[in-house]
Amino acid sequence: MTQKVTVTRVLFFLLFLITLSFSHYTSYAQDEEIPTEEARISEGESLFKGNCQSCHKVHEKLVGPALKNVYDRAPSIDWIVNFVWNSQKMIADGDEYANELWDEYQPTQMTAFPTFSRDQILSILAYIKAETEAGPEVVADVAAAGDGAQPAGDAIPSFYLNAIMIGLVVVLVLILLVLILITSVLRKYLNQRGELDEDDREIVNPTFSFDGLVKSKPFIFLVTFVFTAIVFKVVINQLFAVGVQVDYAPKQPIAFSHELHAGQYEIDCQYCHTGVRKSKSANIPSPNICMNCHSAIKTESPEIQKIYAAIENDKPIEWVRVHNLPDLAYFNHAQHVQVGNIECQDCHGPIEEMEVVRQHSLLTMGWCIDCHRQTEVNTKGNAYYDKLVELHDAESKEALKVEDIGGLECSKCHY
């Protein structure tokens, strides 16, 4: 027994020493390799979010393994770099660790990123290291939950307010009815007693007649006027609402959830909507983008099966267009997202909370114009605007708004 314990202890000690020396060695190597500067970490963060996030999380397993401590787990930094560049090659070359991973995760292949430089991969590792050291985002989750609760908190009082108001009105109406009832009962009672003198009789049975009031000309005029005005207003409102499809949320051929993909999994919008930074249209993703993940994930789901069917039958998925601009208006996503640096949510609303996408904004010309009046031009670091900024600053102390550079002109959107 003791012998065994001793042996085990010795073994453990030896193992510890080896691990120590190894970890020391690796950590020494890391210290040399994985950068710790803020700039590199944030570079890594944006690279991670743009490229890795759709399959990897730092603390959880997603499509691919959780990446925390990956720099310790993996055989070497070089190994990681090579794996990122071309994992399939390493597997084919018979790398032991790579094959272990492949056995675990196949048939999902990791996308090759041959365009990444070694420094970029190191930046990503720096970010992962920073995240690993920061630990799982419990605090962030709480904050997120808090964020989520905040609007709900706003909503509750307004709902209660409405309920209280309605309750109050009901109570008041009831009181009014009771009062009317009491007066009429009292009047009846007094009239039946017949002991009233002239003055009291006049008070009890006033000459004022309700009928007279209703039939009087000013009253009829007033009522007609109010009625016409209301009808007019309703008609005008309705006419203005023609073609406005706020909250239009048609059923889509595939029950795709933005709440799940963009919200829960935090997949970057651009991962699927590839045109948003370069083209006028953001692009509805084609099934081959879905297949990046869904070749392995939830393959049995009947909704995912629809994607397979589309690919097999070579028949495109006919999504129902939610945001419809009239043909006479030209809108360009790249101008707003790439150049203007506007968040998708500014126009599309909290898309990451939408189970079914609905139209959030009015998408009327007035809505466009309002925004162009209020929004400052994102001129920073863009040489195109240099002259405009210079001239504007010479003339005005206000910030350069879109309307100041012709953002309200007809031919910016209509041609």
């Binding site: 360009n332 863009n382 007809c410």
Partner: protein, 1026 residues
């Protein structure tokens, strides 16, 4: 009103997007309203009222529903294609021997616009109207959907099986096989024909051209020993003499020649010399209109003029006007001169060779070592083929993309002979005049769907790549030949690539490289002969040729000259409505061909010309009689009349059929070569019937208004660069001497252009009037075609027009006389589009502010705001605004005319970035604002300034003579800034005026003070006297 939360379906048809439903959903009324039918027709007033009631109910119901629109992504998105971003592919336009290197703009996989390819040393980024319009021919609804056997559909497999069996049995029996085609520029196609010949050894390839250059080929064979046409370099010539060769319009390689020619006509940046151009011709051609000296000569005198010039160079005086002068200039210019002739007579071409040899032009302006391949037709071979066919000696004939039954004189003979050919196949893309007489039609792809190569000039190769997947079940003709010849390669692409592998490897280029550039130059293998031997033709037979000319050219009575129009050409693309409606730059006529006659002839024959209508004529040549309208043409040589070929098609499609008359049967055969000049046996009878040709401009002269056209001669310009400029002056209260330019006075504050100030500069001296810009604009801006009747109603929709003005012989005060053009007028072309006035008269009268001024100098037109009062058009001094009198798209009335907006196929050509306008709105040149916005966004995305030349408007980019220059007048490095020598002068706090320093630059109607952003440069003629 619905709350828009739910989706309502009108029925299953809508849910499933039934094609019939989709079609009807677009139309204004669900079905045809039988308004004009009487009781017998089965419906009466009550039915009508019921229908109306239903219609109103349906319309109001429909109004409440938002249509469900689909967003359909690719199943598998190609890496290179992003919806909304255009892709460009270098390719090659070939139509017979016509050649142009192009770049095809595609959007979402559809070609929508053709631009020139700057990398080509031949077309140098230029295009012409036919090239621009060819993108619409791709979407021609008349194209065959699948192969045909005797008028009914057949599968490719069955066709191949049947054709191969028949060909094999013909070959086995020793029957003769002929492949008939126009000029084939593609060396690889020729290789396929060789392979076909190897399999079927009795095959002969017969090449003909609808407009042959047999004369030049024969003459050059006599002079140089090779049957070829040399390269011409108009750019190196100081004196150009042309005898009936319309080299800027239709002769040989007009885009190339326009590029070269225009370089010699530019006067800027210290260059104060330009070429001098003499033209001797019968019809007033585009080239003649640009000549400095033009002598109208009837065809029989034209050949004599060639002889006269030859003799004048040796010192003999001539009685023909301008010949002596031309001879003197030619002698002075020496080897920097160039003489060409459009004649198809070998004798005339011999004399031309003699003249050029005498001048020493070979080696400078003519390069006989670099032959061009545009015209390879052999008339003798074709005539032999027709004779063989008639004699029943041909067993099988394959017509490869040619239409000899229509565009040759022998067409009718050949038609009769076809019954004796047992196997007849055509590869035409439509059942044209030849194809309908065939057993099989194996329809070829459109060139934008094809792989191909071309060898236009020795050593220069050009490539075609498909810009779209084949729309129909067609097959490339080369592939058909390969199939029938049993070639191993599966398709023509593989064949083409294989045949280029070694040549590319030795040239150090890759396949991708040539697909990117579209062109490649490979030095031809050096030949044994020395340059000296080739460079000078033997002048032995010139005297013999002169004798022949003197003997042969005897005209009697009126003489007829057949010519090609710029738009329709030889008629191959006749079913293209853009080309049909493109006004001919000279006559400004659309949708017709007609007899052009001189004013003198018209007076002599009592031709009445009242309110646009003139008498019809009965033209008889030999046994052919045709009735056609008359147009009085200033500049038409006395004693001659002109008529365009390419019209009168019977089987081209809805657009072209029965438009105009067919002139091919009138072509003459003289000594075995075709002659387009008929000098004997022409009789014309003027008929009492009248007809109005749809012309877009009927006013011939500018009546001495110097505010519109300003011109000078070269000598005057050399003395004073501002010569010919007209400066209006008025007196003001501040300055009574009358020295103030009215253009400087203004009621308005002016505009401050902080970032860009877009403008155009148009050099009237370079503009040849070729109208490429016209079609480019139509293609870029979704401009509808309105048809003959609407053009007659003055409702043509073109945003750019080429105003053509003739000089008048009348005195300045003779107002009536000024309206009459001269007998041999000087011609000026003036492209006219919206001038984007800074003080725009249209903007101030619009009651709804639908037309406004932008901060970048554009005059903006907002269609969705326009209510159609037309005040703006009435107030426009340039008359460039166009009103949509009808809904031209999806309108049954315009279905056969406006094909680009009437069917699903045609609509694929529309530019998705430009709104298709509806009825009741005004439109006009937007200065291609979509291109400006696109270019600006590209710059913004990359965080940089806009580079000059990066944004170009459609007209300027199409211009083969670089006459139109677009740019930012605020950018001091821009071409336009330096061309106009702009000086910024800040006059007041709120106003930045631009002063144009270039003395030649002026604004049209400057005196009215609208301050346009379009400037014109004066026309300079290289004439001796003022």
């Amino acid at each position: 009103m619905s709350d828009n939360k739910k989706t309502y379906w009108k029925g299953v048809e809508q849910l499933t997007n039934d094609p019939a439903f989709v079609k009807n959903a677009e139309s204004e009324f669900p079905e045809f309203l039988p308004i004009n039918q009487n009781e017998e027709g089965g419906s009466n007033r009550r039915d009508f009222l019921k229908l109306m009631g239903f219609g109103i109910a349906a319309a109001s119901l429909a109004a409440c529903e938002a249509p469900v629109r689909k967003a359909i992504p690719y199943v598998n998105k190609p890496v290179d294609i992003d919806p909304g971003i255009p892709n460009y592919y270098a390719s090659t336009y070939t139509q017979g021997g016509d050649y142009c290197s192009i770049v095809v703009k595609t959007r979402e996989g559809r070609p929508i616009k053709i631009e020139g390819n700057d990398l080509s040393k031949i077309s140098q980024g230029g295009v012409n109207a036919q090239v621009e319009a060819s993108v619409l021919s791709l979407y021609d609804n008349e194209r065959l959907r699948e192969p045909q056997k005797e008028g009914s559909a057949i599968s490719w497999d069955d066709l191949d099986k049947e054709v191969a069996t028949k060909l094999n049995s013909i070959t086995a029996q020793g029957g003769q096989i002929r492949i008939v085609s126009n000029t084939v520029l593609s060396p690889t196609t020729k290789k396929v024909v060789e392979d076909f010949t190897a399999k079927h050894p009795t095959t002969q390839h017969v090449v003909y051209d609808s407009h042959p250059m047999e004369g030049a080929l024969v003459a050059n064979e006599a002079s140089f020993g090779t049957r070829m046409i040399p390269s011409y370099h108009f750019g190196k010539a100081e004196v150009i003499v042309s005898f009936g060769a319309d080299f800027l319009g239709t002769w040989l390689s007009p885009v190339e020649f326009t590029k070269q020619y225009s370089k010699t006509r530019k006067l800027n940046n210290g260059k104060k010399t330009m070429s001098r151009h003499y033209q001797f011709e019968g019809n007033l051609s585009l080239t003649g209109a640009n000549a400095d000296y033009r002598t109208p000569l009837k065809p029989s005198d034209e050949a004599k003029a060639v002889v006269a010039l030859f003799e004048a160079l040796s010192g003999k005086k001539s009685s023909i006007p301008n010949i002596d002068k031309a001879a003197a200039d030619l002698k002075k210019a020496g080897n920097k001169s160039l003489v060409v002739s459009g004649s198809n007579d070998p004798a005339v071409q011999m004399v031309i060779n003699g003249i050029n040899s005498m001048l020493g032009s070979y080696g400078t302006t003519i390069d006989a070592d670099k032959p061009v391949h545009y015209k390879q037709g052999n008339e003798k071979a074709f005539d032999q083929f027709v004779a063989d066919a008639k004699a029943g000696r041909v067993a099988a004939a394959i017509f490869y993309n040619c239409n000899p039954l229509y565009n040759t004189k022998a067409g009718s003979e050949l038609k009769e002979a076809l019954s004796k050919i047992s196997l007849k196949i055509s590869t035409a893309d439509r059942p044209d005049e030849t194809a309908i007489a065939m057993d099989y039609i194996a329809p070829d792809h459109h060139f934008l769907e094809s792989w191909n190569d071309a060898n236009p000039v020795m050593g220069t190769y050009s490539f075609s790549q498909p810009a779209i997947t084949p729309i129909f079940n067609t097959r490339q003709a080369q592939e058909s030949l390969m199939k029938w010849a049993g070639v191993a390669q599966p398709d023509y692409y593989t064949y083409l690539k294989d045949s280029w592998t070694s040549a590319l490897a030795s040239a150090g280029k890759t396949w991708d490289h040539i697909l990117h550039d579209g062109v490649i130059e490979i030095d031809p293998p050096a030949e044994g002969e020395t340059e000296e031997d080739q460079a000078n033709p033997q002048g032995v037979s010139v005297s013999q040729a002169i004798q022949q000319i003197n003997a042969n050219y005897k005209g009697s009575g009126v003489e007829l000259s057949l010519y090609q129009k710029l738009g329709i050409g030889d008629g191959t693309q006749a079913n293209n409505p853009w080309l049909q409606e493109m006004p001919d730059p000279i006559t400004k006529a659309t949708w017709d061909n007609y007899l052009t006659v001189s004013q003198a002839w018209a007076t002599e024959n009592n031709v009445q010309f009242v309110e646009g209508k003139s008498n019809m004529a009965k033209l008889t040549v030999g046994g052919n009689t045709i009735t056609l309208p008359i147009v009085i043409q200033p500049g038409q040589a006395n004693g001659s009349v002109g008529l365009a070929v390419g019209y009168g098609r019977t089987s081209a499609g809805k657009v072209a059929n029965s438009v105009g008359v067919d002139a091919y049967p009138l072509v003459n055969k003289v000594n075995g070569v075709s002659s387009f000049d008929i000098m004997i046996g022409v009789s014309i009878e003027v008929l009492p019937e009248t007809y109005q040709v749809a012309q877009t401009q009927t006013h011939q002269t500018y009546m001495g208004r110097e505010t519109v056209i300003q011109e000078a001669t070269l000598q005057e310009y050399q003395k004073d660069p501002g010569a010919g400029r007209y400066h209006a002056h008025v007196a003001t209260w501040q300055e009574e001497s009358g020295e103030t330019s009215p253009g400087t006075l203004s009621l308005w504050k002016g505009h401050k252009y902080k970032n860009h100030h877009w403008g155009l500069a148009i050099d009237l001296n370079s503009c040849t009037g070729c109208s490429a810009c016209h079609v480019a604009c139509q293609s870029e801006n979704n401009i509808p075609v309105v048809g003959r009747q609407e053009v007659l109603n003055r409702r043509d929709m073109h945003w750019i027009r080429i105003d053509r003005y003739y000089s008048s012989d009348a005195e300045a005060g003779d107002l009536r006389g000024l309206e009459v053009a001269a007998e041999n007028p000087e011609v000026t072309f003036q492209p006219m589009m919206c001038q984007h006035c800074n003080n725009a008269p249209c903007e101030t009268v619009c009651p709804v502010a639908a037309t406004t001024h932008s901060t970048e100098g554009l005059n903006q037109m907002t269609y969705n705001r326009c209510i159609g009062t037309r005040y703006c058009a009435n107030n426009c001094p340039y008359k460039v605004r166009r009103f949509n009198w009808f809904k031209y798209h999806d309108n049954a009335q315009f279905e056969d005319i406006n094909t680009a907006m009437s069917n699903d196929l045609g609509k694929m050509v529309l530019n998705p970035d430009v709104t298709v306008r509806s009825r009741g709105v005004m439109e006009k040149c937007s200065l291609c604002v979509q291109r400006i916005q696109y270019g600006k966004l590209e710059a913004k995305k990359e965080g940089r300034k806009v580079k000059d030349g990066e944004i170009n408007v459609a007209c300027a980019s199409a211009c083969a003579s670089d006459a139109i220059v677009f740019g930012d007048m605020n950018d001091q490095d821009s071409k336009i800034y330096n061309m106009l020598k702009i000086k910024d002068t800040e006059k007041a706090d709120y106003l930045i005026e631009k002063e144009i320093g270039e003395p030649r630059a002026y604004h049209v109607l400057d005196a009215i003070g609208v301050k346009p952003n379009v400037s014109y440069l004066t026309k300079i003629r290289n004439k001796d006297k003022a």
